[in-house]
Point group: C2
Chain length 326, copies 2
């Protein structure tokens, strides 16, 4: 089942069910108005949403082409982002001569969750001098997870899978990281691809708590990367258990993979500019690629083996704060 | 004006206005049902809530003695905690031989905000071995703050002042801090004193964006500390501007001061056990005070010069997860 949220002027938007070919949608309004509400009562709501999917399969529905999608959860009670691709961390340490991070546990920070940008919304930021970068990621959305849930129990709490862009400001990030307190200024609102899908939609590509799909990233129309989500050091079930060790997780918690990165990054490319710059530092002693400028666009899309863009595409433009068309 | 939230089985509870002597309350229900809603439409709601305060001044209302208070915001879209008392940081560095934190900016982390415990709720935690500690703090609650708001503009966005306990797990905290990603497991749900008050309620004690009141802390009934909120290195207006540099803040954002600490901590005591242990390490080479055990209680209360406990008291018990009475 594929779900999405239409922008309708309300903070949580309007939940819709999307047809298998992603060409049509049906409003879930009478069944359940918002995705947050559906996640809070999933066992009751999911069958009703599936019934709408059946009607879509019969040919009902409105065309998605004219729809204006919000993030599936335009706001959420919790956003926890991992950094689960070891090749990314190792490269950053090598390039920037950082000491290794001393932990056997998953890396995770808590980010702002009161606003997630829609897949085609402009991205308003205050300054190009902050080092504007994208981070292509996969993520999962949970129902309510009790404190102390184990990794083995955690997979059952994965209700939806999403694809997102964890916008990052690279000039600020290392300064904040050195404090040990994590990031505030370096991590503005994320963007999310339009379709949040149940794990079965991925078939064999959802395995071991990992989204084993290539994430195609292009920057200003030029191919940038095509890394695969499989080689996470920790699966999403491990990330859920890590997060729930001393807190319950509310329904609608979104957990991210961290920027998708593969050990053969010289072949497949990267999902963020920082990684490409890291490669350039290792290879040439200095970075050659600049961060983003206002007006730049980034597109991110993951496809199933049959070519279907299962999450839809993020395709958006960075603009100076104040210039955004919402 | 003093506001509070009654536990009523809903996630956001029921907003009430509290009498000046804190002995009576009136439900705000018909005016505005929740504190979150009031903060989203403050210019409209505040006069209506003030009218209820006038009725309380005429002697109307129910007794607060029998009321069961939630946190003023039982859940919030954003919780950002500073660490603005320099004497605390300096002592921790001295005691634990940590390198100084390299930044001229305020220290701040983003914590879980989907759950704030009420002032008398039990505090369920998984293990005494995690090093259970309290952190007595003051905090402010904002209305919506645009991205890029300056410190000079920020004070006008402080709608309410609160007093809270930022529960901390000290065995985990340094491990997570070393990653640079901030805290997940080390920072479970905070607790908040019952009354959220408008700045005018503090009179001269609200100045320079600081809550210039003593915070009386007792542990298992024994006096523990009485530090004053004045000597923050950054005022709350600075913390708001710091947070809003690259993001808008939603109405209902709570920003904390960090554990209240004074340079003369040997005289006034501390607002967290970690600080007392730090003093012991400096004085004796090793800590003598253990962290909390299940069944331990902590009470926190700040009084105006006339003796009135303006925020009410946090008075609660730590229990093993599963043993909580909610």
């Amino acid at each position: 089942m594929k779900l999405a949220t239409l922008q309708d002027g309300t903070p949580d938007g309007a939940l819709v069910v999307i047809s298998a070919d992603t060409n049509r949608y049906l409003l879930a309004g009478e069944t359940v108005a918002t995705l947050q509400a559906a996640l809070e009562r999933w066992p009751t709501c999911a069958p009703r949403l599936a019934a709408l999917a059946d009607r879509l399969a019969q040919g009902e529905g409105q065309p998605t082409a004219a729809a204006r999608f919000a993030a599936p959860l335009p706001r959420a009670w919790q956003w926890l982002d991992g950094s689960a691709f070891a090749s990314h961390g190792a490269l950053m340490q090598q390039a920037f001569r950082l000491p290794p991070i001393e932990t056997d546990l998953p890396l995770m920070y808590q980010g702002m969750s009161h606003q997630f940008l829609g897949p085609r919304d402009d991205v308003p930021l205050p300054s190009e001098a902050d080092g504007i970068d994208f981070e292509g990621e996969f993520g999962i959305v949970t129902d309510a997870v009790p404190m102390g849930t184990s990794a083995a129990e955690a997979l059952a709490h994965v209700r939806l899978i999403v694809q997102l862009n964890d916008w990052s400001l690279r000039t600020i990030a290392p300064v904040e990281m050195k404090t040990g307190f994590g990031w505030i200024q370096a991590k503005p609102a994320c963007s999310v691809a339009p379709f949040a899908v149940t794990p079965d939609e991925l078939g064999d590509a959802w395995r071991d708590g990992r989204v084993c799909l290539d994430l195609a990233v292009s920057w200003n129309g030029a191919h940038f990367g095509n890394a695969n989500g499989a080689p996470m050091s920790f699966g999403f079930h491990d990330l859920i258990a890590h997060a729930a060790r001393t807190r319950p997780l509310p329904a609608g918690t979104i957990i991210g993979s961290g920027t998708v990165s593969n050990p053969n990054y010289r072949e497949v490319g990267s999902s963020c500019i920082a990684e490409r710059r890291g490669i350039e530092i290792v290879d040439h002693g200095a970075p050659r690629t600049s961060f983003m400028r206002f007006g730049d666009t980034v597109r991110m899309e993951a496809s199933l083996p049959d070519g279907a863009a299962v999450f839809g595409a993020i395709d958006q433009r960075v603009v100076a704060q104040g210039d955004a068309r919402g």
